[in-house]
Symmetry: C2
Subunit: 504 residues, 2 copies
């Protein structure tokens, strides 16, 4: 038994090594690679990805899992193992069976179809013409239905799809939480629209990029971003990537005439980086040194971006320095006006530009449509119409074309269905965790006002980061909060924060 476990750790070490190499190839591709290096880079990445796939699906894992007593009924394996070792066995069981259940022919078909679909989508979005993309999306929905059949599910095929990103969550659980959200947020947004609007014009003016970067780096330093283990660079689309347990990289982009994009982007990615840098020492080299789920990952980035970064206490600490950096731009703007501006709520068509309140409504829209597509209650050809309906119901506005509606996101063209819900689940988990954090650090806001971020990071390290992939999202939620997933803390947070800002 011990030998089988050691062998699993040995195989995992190799897989993690390959994961890190693949991450570096990707990071460099988006950050520093000379343009024409792209062809050879694709070859290099494909080579490592294929090697890594071979290693993950190595049939030896099947034998080792048998030896360790793991089965569909008992994925944790033998009770004689330690708790953490059983959790490792469970993760291996999950990955091995998820990967081996899907036939190679389907994986290849996915690659073939999405490679074409992505370029068609780019073109279709440019022309704002869904009809071009439609036949490709039909194939993608069909492939996802086949995928769901191979992966297996009990209640709804969408369960199998969402489980890829958010392990062991069901469509029904998401639907319950999203219903709570919808019922609270739609009227809140309506009330905000009727209230006096806040001025944000001073955010949109020339903010020299070098100064944005300088301030962003000062914030990173202050919140505990460790430059011996992490770095910040620029890329067209911001991301976080993990090259090693002590080497995590974030990127941002600077818009010369909108200061908030890089500012909150950096804090958001730092939240992801803190998570990736916080896995327990004991998990190093194994697949437990990885995120619990995309939703939990997003809970960390959104916590730092919104709860901390868009909070009054944060700016009470940083606003003097920020104003010193941009004295002309912020002349006559007091902290209260600034705080309101960075928290302005306004229903808009584009998800990635949405504020903290309406963002989840964009996600609910996508969830409803995906669930219906996969449940065969909606046809791809009827998608633009359904999008309009949902948009009107949720946001009170409708797209003026496919580009600002059904064609705005890249996810479907890449083959991903079931991914979107994780964004809103991040808000939900995040505020559940925050409620507990506030209970245990009652003077949280005072600490933030004084620039003391270490206790927050320490709490997250202990309660969230360290556990890595050893818990399922629902186990982690229960363990931290004593409760199952619930939208209530997030809803209460939004109501309190925005009733104050909009004087409702």
């Amino acid at each position: 038994m011990d030998k089988a476990l050691e062998r699993i750790k040995e195989l995992d070490r190799e897989i993690r090594t390959l994961n890190g190499i693949e991450a570096l190839l990707g990071w460099d591709h988006h950050v520093y690679m000379p343009e024409r290096g792209v062809h050879q880079r694709s070859e290099q990445t494909a080579y490592i990805a294929s090697l890594s796939h071979q290693k993950v699906t190595n049939p030896e894992f099947g034998d080792l899992l048998d030896k360790l007593g793991a089965s569909a009924e008992n994925p944790l394996g033998s009770k004689s193992l330690s708790d953490d070792d059983r959790r490792l066995v469970r993760a291996v069981y999950r990955d091995f069976h998820q990967q081996t259940r899907v036939p190679g022919s389907l994986v290849e078909e996915f690659a073939r179809v999405t490679s074409i679909a992505q370029s068609v989508w780019t073109e279709a979005r440019k022309k704002s013409d869904f009809s071009l993309f439609r036949p490709h999306l039909e194939k993608i929905v069909d492939l996802n239905l086949q995928l769901a059949d191979h992966l297996g599910y009990t209640a709804h095929p969408y369960d199998a799809l969402v489980d890829q990103y958010e392990p062991e969550i069901t469509t029904a659980q998401i639907a319950t939480v999203f219903r709570q959200l919808r019922e609270a947020l739609v009227p809140l947004v309506r009330d905000i629209k009727a209230a006096k609007q806040v001025d944000t014009s001073f955010l949109r003016q020339p903010y020299p990029v070098e100064l944005q970067e300088q301030f962003g780096r000062a914030v990173l330093d202050a919140i505990g971003f460790d430059s011996q283990r992490a770095r910040l660079d620029r890329s067209v689309h911001p991301f976080t990537t993990t090259i090693g347990v002590d080497d995590v990289r974030i990127t941002t982009r600077y818009l010369a005439d909108l200061v908030t994009s890089s500012l909150f982007g950096i804090v958001h990615e730092a939240g992801h980086a803190f998570y990736e840098l916080g896995f327990a020492e004991g998990f190093r080299g194994t697949r437990l040194a990885d995120a619990c789920s995309l939703g939990i990952h997003e809970s960390m980035s959104r916590f730092w971006e919104n709860v901390i970064g868009r909070g009054r206490a944060f700016w009470s600490h940083f606003y003097p320095q920020f104003k010193e950096t941009f004295p002309d731009q912020l002349s006559g703007v007091d902290i209260e006006a600034f705080y309101k501006a960075i928290n302005r709520v306004e229903p808009s068509l584009i998800r990635v530009e949405a504020d903290e309140v309406t963002y989840s409504l964009h996600i609910i829209l996508r969830f409803e449509l995906e669930r219906m597509l996969i449940g065969k209650e909606l046809k791809v050809k009827d998608l633009p119409h359904a999008w309009h309906e949902q948009s009107r119901d949720l946001l009170g506005i409708v797209p003026d074309g496919d580009a600002s509606g059904v064609l705005q996101d890249i996810h479907w063209s890449g083959g991903s269905i079931g991914y979107f819900p994780t964004y809103a689940l991040g808000n939900v988990y995040g505020l559940q965790f925050t409620a507990k954090l506030r209970e245990q650090i009652p003077d949280l806001d005072t600490k933030v006002r004084h620039g003391e971020f270490a206790p927050i990071k320490a709490w997250l390290d202990t309660n969230v980061h360290a556990h890595g992939r050893s818990r399922t999202p629902q186990e982690l939620c229960q363990q931290i909060t004593g409760n199952p997933m619930s939208a209530e803390p997030f809803v209460n947070y939004l109501k309190t924060k925005y009733r104050d800002i909009y004087d409702l």
Copy 2:
């Protein structure tokens, strides 16, 4: 036969992919990696290096070489193959036999001994105490003797060692060329020392690093460094690395109070990069898309750095722009004074700081000592004394301690004996090629004065770069110049240039 050749190209493609990945891991390590990423990076690099070694020594190559009729007597294989295919066969034959002749146990012993020797060397150099390093160097010499035996040689064991870096050259050939050099350079240096010295003080003053970089990039642009296929970054030790046929990267370091270090460093590395970017299209994906030898590589970097970069014509073009960039630093310094300063000759103890004339003398010193060590005419314990003797004879000065003498270079601690000569051979080849280039482009200096570098690069592409590894250094030299290797053009170049500068 066609199938065997296709299979070789397929295997080569995989090896080249791995080479590129390994290069990226190394580049990132020295350029952007956060400090604490080092442990995992070592694992990643070792993983790819070991995989790549497996691929190069794949026994299938042995069978394929048999099928293609390659043997020790006929490494080019069957005459029914095309010329380039036969050259590929020869390169595969060479690598496969070189790698498989050396037993794994010796490779491991080298790794074990040098890993310790490198840290001991660092410490010994710090303390300027050769006695600490001596037992390790004794082991390294012994391992190199074993290595030479395994690799095989006819006349001198040093032949086998130098052949690793400069294929098919002999100790006797090097000795002949170095004798010519020595006989010409020692008196030239003596005459220069007796002449009126040039002022270089204005080179050593504060030169803002950002402006150094800006000017360096302008020079790169002007000489044809293609930013779609190459990039420049900073690192502690400058280097050039090839991540793909369309992705070559150079680095430099900026010294805030010495402008020449980054300036000529950039031009030097650009010469290496031009070579790596210039291999014939038809060689892509095979091992022929690689350098002919280290000496030829160095001929290109030194051509750009010294022949072009330290030439009057080059500064006739760039000096106005340079002076505009640094008006205070160069106030009152005319182009003639500047030209003389960047070409000042002065015997010094440290190789890496040596000028164009004395540099080769530093190399000859090391060659003589290495040849005697490997020929068992000199014991490691007598090395510091022998170093002093040679230094006095060649440079007219002696080290004031081991740190500025026998301990100054990292090469031996890393296990490399036979590497040094390639540096001076670079000068020799470079000026042989230059003589031909001047024959074929008689108005070369006029072109350079007008900033027209494209014809030079085109000539080098056609005559040097494109051939990659398809020729041996001696074949290439013969093909380009119609003559075997000879020190004469280099000696003539130095005499003409420095008699003018020092008014001899």
